[in-house]
Symmetry: C2
Subunit: 580 residues, 2 copies
């Protein structure tokens, strides 16, 4: 790492081409080694090395600005912009973020994490430049997967309206997480493979001049193209379309770009994840019910749906990074008599918020949302935490919300969903376990279950209402320690967040009710329980454990839970304080 170690952000301008080529090798090695250790996005970052080096060589950051769409291609940029010495802390608590972060460096112009924002953001930054009379280039660096997102189209549509100049670098490796699909990508591919005229005219309609690069992993080609783009940018907006290879430079990664898109650290424990159980359960249901369909937004593998897509290709739809379209497709398939399952990460479902209200719930359609990565998701940080879903879903009429106590209960909830003829959301974290023996009783809407009944006499009674596996584990941990001290409390699997088990709440004789959730407090489970208990005029005291009103940074899931307000020792301490 002789060159990267000594590199300063401005120093790159003095490098020879052969030094720059060595730099590319060093960047690639550093990214590979760091991701193997820390986890992170490998293949996309390996593929963007040469284009980023060329961009950094040709443009003048941080005065010039670049917005990385999603941010899965920002590692080389981070290494070039003075963060090589700290890069070993990638995705660790307090360390370098896996995404652009304005608070981390003046070189990061705009935070990203969700797809499709870069072109809008570049236009906004460019317009601010114009109005403030500043001089700088503004660049959106975007992959072909994000280029499918409707927001990009809205932005392209408005480029002429805002009458400003940006450079769009379209890094086209033919993949998002899954291979890129759809009409727009066909147009882009046509341009790349030679049949250029119409596609280029299309881009001109949006106010873009087209420059194509055949091999975006060739540094010489990239240096020339970036210089050309910089020159053309004086006259108008430019689309620099570069064909790259996802995973470039590492054989396994080149051959397996889907498996190496997001990579866990080597040696991570391999539990059975909720996604696997989702895939198996949906396959089992689909075998009996021909109306079941599955819709995914570019994440079928991560959501455990590979087998479903193989077994039922005619009923499985991956529409690319188009979360809104996926939601309306589900609502309308349901209107047409099908039974659709929308599988998605919690944080990305935010994109379909209006369609959940307007298309699914206002029409009371039997769409089931299978929401993975709910709660704190950990190393991806602020933009990827799934800690809002209980709140933004709870406010929507007609929608039931469940959170399984373990992977077995996910299967049971899916069985319940099959005959439930209204909108239903099931949310769960990534890692799953089988915690408890499950009885044979089918799930009933809005019914909770005791996991432990306290053995208490002549003592105040405490009931812990725990929502979802993670919170149940914390509750049981607290219980074990309390029992060791001769204390006891009820533990309840509050598997339905909405409707609440009002009968349970009505009948409880507890003096203290404690709620636990893997979600922000505002508008969430604890808040709903509190309001229900007041409405029912129960005299009990209520204590809520939920995340406080802040964006949650990157780190270890358990540590973040504690840090932001859901800590088993505090739960135990509270219960002890009211019992002793």
């Amino acid at each position: 790492m002789s060159i990267l170690k000594k590199l300063t952000p401005k120093g790159i301008k003095q490098y020879t081409k052969s030094q720059l080529n060595v730099l590319c090798d060093e960047l690639r090695a550093t990214i590979h080694d760091t991701v193997m250790r820390c986890g992170g996005h490998l293949a996309s970052n390996l593929g963007s090395v040469e284009s980023t080096v060329a961009m950094f060589y040709v443009f003048d950051f941080p005065n010039d600005k670049v917005v990385f769409d999603v941010g899965h291609q920002c590692y080389p940029y981070k290494l070039l912009s003075g963060r090589a010495d700290k890069f070993s802390t990638l995705r660790q608590a307090g360390g370098i973020s896996g995404f652009p972060k304005r608070t981390e460096s003046e070189y990061d112009a705009y935070d990203t994490g969700h797809a499709g924002t870069s072109v809008s953001a570049a236009i906004g930054l460019a317009k601010a430049r114009d109005l403030k009379g500043e001089e700088r280039a503004v660049i959106a660096y975007i992959g072909d997967g994000s280029f499918n997102n409707g927001l990009v189209y809205e932005a392209l549509n408005s480029l002429k309206i805002l009458d400003t100049k940006i450079l769009i670098v379209l890094n086209d490796n033919g993949m998002s997480i899954s291979p890129t699909v759809g009409g727009m990508y066909d147009i882009i591919t046509e341009i790349k493979t030679g049949d250029k005229a119409e596609g280029i005219r299309l881009l001109e309609s949006f106010g873009l001049t087209y420059v194509g690069v055949k091999n975006g992993n060739d540094l010489d080609e990239m240096l020339d193209a970036m210089s050309q783009a910089k020159e053309m940018l004086k006259n108008g907006s430019v689309l620099l379309h570069i064909a790259t290879k996802k995973g470039k430079g590492y054989e396994f990664s080149e051959d397996h770009p889907t498996n190496t898109h997001g990579v866990p650290p080597v040696g991570s424990p391999k539990d059975k994840e909720y996604s696997e159980v989702l895939g198996e359960s949906l396959c089992a249901l689909a075998a009996k019910n021909p109306n079941i369909t599955v819709v995914s937004a570019a994440m079928k593998e991560a959501l455990g749906l590979s087998e479903f897509f193989e077994k039922y290709p005619e009923r499985a739809f991956d529409v690319g990074i188009c979360e809104e379209n996926a939601a309306v497709l589900c609502a309308s398939m349901a209107a047409g008599g099908l039974k659709p399952y929308y599988t998605i990460y919690s944080t990305f479902l935010q994109r379909a918020f209006d369609e959940i209200i307007h298309d699914v719930c206002a029409q009371n359609m039997p769409v089931t949302f299978c929401i993975d990565r709910a709660g704190i998701s950990g190393a991806d940080g602020e933009t990827h935490q799934g800690v809002f879903d209980l709140s933004y879903l709870s406010l929507i009429p007609n929608l039931a919300i469940a959170t399984p106590k373990d992977t077995v209960e996910l299967t049971k909830l899916l069985e319940f969903s099959e005959t439930y003829n209204h909108p239903l959301a099931i949310r769960y974290p990534r890692a799953g376990r089988v915690i408890f023996p499950t009885d044979d009783k089918p799930i009933e809407l809005g019914k909770w279950e005791y996991l432990h009944k306290a053995n208490v006499e002549n003592s105040a009674k405490v009931t812990v209402l725990a929502a979802g596996e993670r919170c149940i584990i914390l509750a049981m941990k607290a219980l074990k320690e309390l029992q060791a001290e001769g204390l006891d409390c009820d533990i309840v699997n509050a598997r339905f967040i909405k409707p609440l088990d009002e009968e349970f709440l009505q009948n409880t004789d507890s003096k203290y009710v404690v709620t636990l959730e893997d979600n922000v407090f505002n508008g969430g489970f604890g808040s709903a329980v509190t309001n229900a208990l007041l409405r029912l005029q129960k005299g009990c005291k209520i204590k809520n454990f939920a995340y406080r009103d802040e964006f949650i940074h990157q780190g270890n899931v358990g540590a973040l839970q504690s840090e932001y307000g859901v800590d088993w020792q505090e739960i135990k301490a509270y219960i002890k304080s009211v019992l002793v």
Copy 2:
């Protein structure tokens, strides 16, 4: 109305062309007269008469299905499908909806209200047809304004992926509410005006075959084109592009399509609306602050911004029906040092939910959301009520939320916003008044004010916390009646929903606290106050008035407020019951 009166949905097939022409005239007259009396969408529905008659004549509804995008063009269809006798109840409580409603007629295949859902919905319905082995045509009927929305692009992108056949009728009148703008519209216009090849190739890339109609208000042309499209639909998806005149047939409406897009009933009282005050206040601020920009999503007139757009064209941006793009533009303009104001209706802001979280609030950007039509909006029904915003905004960290007590306080809140360097949402209903003399004190973040202090001794104290003008009016009405009976209570202008005035709550010595809001209960203002009072361990009793957990149908604003849970007589009765 000799023909329309006798028309049955199936009967139209037997009509001669001259009868169909008379029918068109009668439809136009009926729509005009009804909208003048009931309010509603005039110009768009006048422009779609011939195409709808042709569609109804050629296709076989309700077995064939049509999805009207937004729904502003569905009146002729409603009149043709057996609802002419009830059409005089348009937009009234219990009457015909201004939008497609499955619950109203089997002819309405899919409910709409927000823009851009029709193509996705048609694809979903068509895929359901395919999988169920049914035979029917599925049509998306969409205006050129909606065609700008990113969701349409996501849907077009997925047409090949879902491998199904739909007909898209693109009713191109060159307007949404404002004239249509943007790159995609330029492409569509190019096709319309003769330079066809590239645009048509673009549509082919999405899997669509193009048919153009020069005069979509000519019944003969439309009948031929619909028959042709029906035939072509056997082989693949079709885009039928028809050029129409918005407001066709009524001179004033043709000449003033913006003013006649949405029309209030003749003789409606003309208050000074919040939108007017918004426009004046933003102009005043912009005169002194060159960093202020305004972004709108196709609604500048309705939001009171015409003057701003005229005075400050370089700082005013109407990006078309692209709510997400508008939000990211605001966040990035703020990142570039500007002070952006995003002006929008409450219900449409739902579309930008993820961008509010991910782009504006996670980056803590000084974007101000000016949210009009908040609370119950009335005659437009379920899809247009602005009753969720307090809830979906309250769960987002870093975002302050205010609701002015009257139009004067809107101006003061905007003055406050100018130096407030974080995300801020200001929400208000349409109609505004000047209710109270306002003191000269500037607004302070999270500070409420007494509007009335009770004159009580040796009596339980009641404090009413009212959020926004409408609730304050209800509170004052209740107070007046209570005072007539010798009773009294405090009335507080709870102008900040977030942060709450915790100092006020900490210091209150009231035994009873009553909250009023023009929003659903779940996750809203009352819920937040309840939780805060419990956390502060105040022993007071709390009573919340807010809307119950249901979609709110169309009707009169005041009547709906009462019906769904915020009724001044009930407020009075509650206060009396605890005081006497």
